[in-house]
Chain length 218, copies 2
């Protein structure tokens, strides 16, 4: 990566630290501690924090500093419900608009996901699996062709990942991969057959159902 300013580097790492749960919800983000951790001055820190405020990962209280946004069951339900609707919208548009290259990419991504699923189930590198998983679903929704919609989708995915990582911490290595894999196959079939209604229903469930498991943790 090219030389980027300190704020951008801090943003990247701090965002990671929040999403992965290193800084838990509600945690007070003291300048002194952050300066120490990221080895930068206050001003780049404030810039990064300002950006995280817009992303709704950090709250700012005037003259009272910054804190990691609290999590709540209400927000969890809302995010996953919204994600399900947005993803469903993306899939629908992708089926209407997707071309041949789009189809090929889906098949490729599905193959990569499936061939690595077994390996990862063994050694338990869930973050790596999640990346493939993400890539698979992105291959599908990419067909909608809308930068704006894909951005909205990504924002929601990132907001959700804080909750998802919460789950990974408590349920390390205890994944329901088999069910998941079957859902993926059904999804690919419906999408490639351009079966709009089935595909939209499948993806909606694929997002909503796991969120119901998550709800038990809060």
């Amino acid at each position: 990566m090219p030389q980027e300013n300190s704020a951008a580097k801090v943003l990247f790492h701090l965002k990671q630290d929040i999403l992965t749960g290193f800084f838990v919800a509600g945690h007070k983000l003291k300048m002194s501690a952050l300066k120490e951790r990221y080895q930068v001055g206050v001003n780049p820190l404030r810039e990064a924090l300002s950006q995280l405020v817009v992303m709704q990962l950090v709250q700012v209280h005037d003259q009272r500093g910054y804190r990691v946004c609290p999590v709540s069951q209400t927000e969890l339900v809302d995010i996953y419900d919204t994600r399900a609707h947005i993803e469903s919208l993306c899939v629908g548009l992708a089926i209407e608009r997707g071309d041949e290259a789009w189809e090929a990419n889906i098949v490729a991504a599905a193959y990569r996901l499936q061939s690595n699923a077994d390996l990862l189930k063994a050694d338990g590198d869930l973050q790596a699996w999640e990346k493939l998983h993400q890539g698979f679903h992105y291959a599908i929704v990419k067909g909608c062709g809308s930068e704006e919609l894909l951005r909205v989708r990504l924002d929601l995915y990132e907001k959700a990942s804080r909750y998802r990582n919460l789950w990974l911490k408590h349920n390390a290595g205890h994944g329901a991969f088999d069910v998941n894999q079957m859902e993926h196959e059904q999804l690919v079939t419906a999408v490639l057959a351009r079966d709009l209604e089935s595909a939209k229903k499948l993806i909606f469930k694929h997002i909503i159902v796991p969120s119901q498991v998550l709800q038990g943790l809060l």
Copy 2:
């Protein structure tokens, strides 16, 4: 308003200046000029600019400062198309979930809009009319009950307003209010009758059609 830090004040004003077109697309945002205009130091400015970068209203080039994001016909089409889909989604969910208070608020907002429409057509205070218009549509979508979805909707609305204000500048006092008003009446009827399909189609057109006029300006 309570005492808020400088960055928040700058953010508000600078955002306004960009959305209303005071700072046109592509304009270089020099620190010296911004310091002069908003009467603050560099650091609050950089915080505000960082936030606007996340909102995709400002671009940052490393060591080369900030510029207002360029506009393009591609983005215009994408934003309005996405807005139409999102708004349609909101309306659909609102019809499914809205209660009696929601219905009452719609009727109230529609009344306010209609009773002020004639007045504003005369003296031409389009910004005030736009606020009522916004309020009317918000009253409808509010029924979806999803904070996340409403936030996505608001973000897109704000991004679109830069294009809308571009139109207002070139077409001052030349509104198609009558057509608009009729569409609103049809929408209210469909929504209150909980006619999902009609309402979704109406709102989709209500957003898409004006955007096609806008496309001529770029």
